[in-house]
Subunit: 209 residues, 2 copies
């Protein structure tokens, strides 16, 4: 498609580099900005630049933060011996929004993915190992996606952590039928796991309260 | 949802002001930028700013352009007595990509839409009227969307142009069954229009060549 203007061509090209946004959508977004006050484009442009240039990662858990140590890691009322390993900041936000987890996190910054060329050295795995060696940690909860990449990363982490003397307990979040989901629509693997990892009825009753 | 960083909150807020992009998608896009080289964010940010601040509209047809008069309007080989009225630059691009239309355009910059608070004065209708008054135009082709807003704008334009002494011919693009479409799936209104506006078979044969 040929655009009637170089400036338009450039903005469409840049916007369509974002994942899931094609040239058509990019054009729609650019034309939308044209109808809005110039301030909106200035703020958008500035916010992107500030975010990309000034964002920090917490020195301890590697979550996105404005400070060197994030609010969660510097909160003394949390259980620092319980570390939940997640893929990225979205998972931290999802778990935090439940308000039920009182431990801390370790953000990997991705999953091991041979297809996408992501190896263990691209993630914060070495830093997790150092964290376990340098500080007393009671339990590591692996909370990664139930995908091939997630499983690969789980196994790699398990092996790495097992090599550490005085290794902590390692657990993984439960896989099963989602609350409110119907049994007949669940996939086979999930169904099998939910039966194999069944829990005492009294425990489940207590969690419904 | 609470974000762990002010910079992240700001960029998500700004990106999610774009149409069709929610907070979740905005977060995904922001995190994507974080994994890319800083240059990509700089280029994106700069392209948005340049586009919004420096883009011009052609003085004649009001299409987006880098010049005061666009390439189409300054092309002497085109028929300047034939003016196609469209909603925005995307329609110009769509018609231009067929390579079959040799007239010029008039870009309204939107459609009359009482619901969205867009009135005739928000569009370039007055300028179209002046253009017809000041220059010899043989035919105006109304090529607006077949929606309520499109029809409203069509009627308004027809009335406005009819008031001009020595008014040009006014035509509208054909509505009918799309080429390659199956009759049984067409909606009733389109089907009725396609029968009412039937054309001689010989003419249709010639267009298939």
């Amino acid at each position: 498609m040929e655009y009637p203007s170089k400036l338009l061509t450039e903005v469409v090209n840049e916007i369509s580099k974002l994942p899931g946004i094609g040239k058509r959508t990019a054009l729609r977004l650019a034309l939308h900005l044209l109808k809005q006050p110039v301030e909106q484009s200035e703020q958008l442009s500035q916010a992107i630049l500030n975010f990309r240039k000034d964002i920090k990662h917490c020195e301890v858990c590697h979550n996105i933060s404005d400070k060197t140590v994030c609010d969660i890691c510097s909160d003394s009322s949390r259980q620092h011996q319980l570390v939940c390993v997640v893929e990225d900041v979205r998972d931290v936000m999802a778990i935090e929004s439940t308000g039920e987890y009182r431990g801390v996190y370790h953000v990997l910054g991705g999953l091991i993915s041979p297809i996408d060329g992501v190896g263990p050295s691209d993630l914060t795995i070495d830093k997790l190992v150092k964290r376990i060696e340098n500080q007393y940690i009671d339990e590591i909860v692996l909370a990664l996606s139930a995908t091939v990449d997630g499983d690969t990363t789980n196994f790699y982490l398990y092996r790495k952590i097992s090599e550490i003397p005085d290794m902590p307990k390692i657990s993984t979040i439960a896989r099963g039928i989602g609350v409110g989901e119907e049994l007949e629509y669940a996939d086979e693997v999930t169904l099998v796991r939910s039966i194999l990892n069944r829990i005492p009825f009294e425990k489940s009753i207590n969690q419904n309260k």
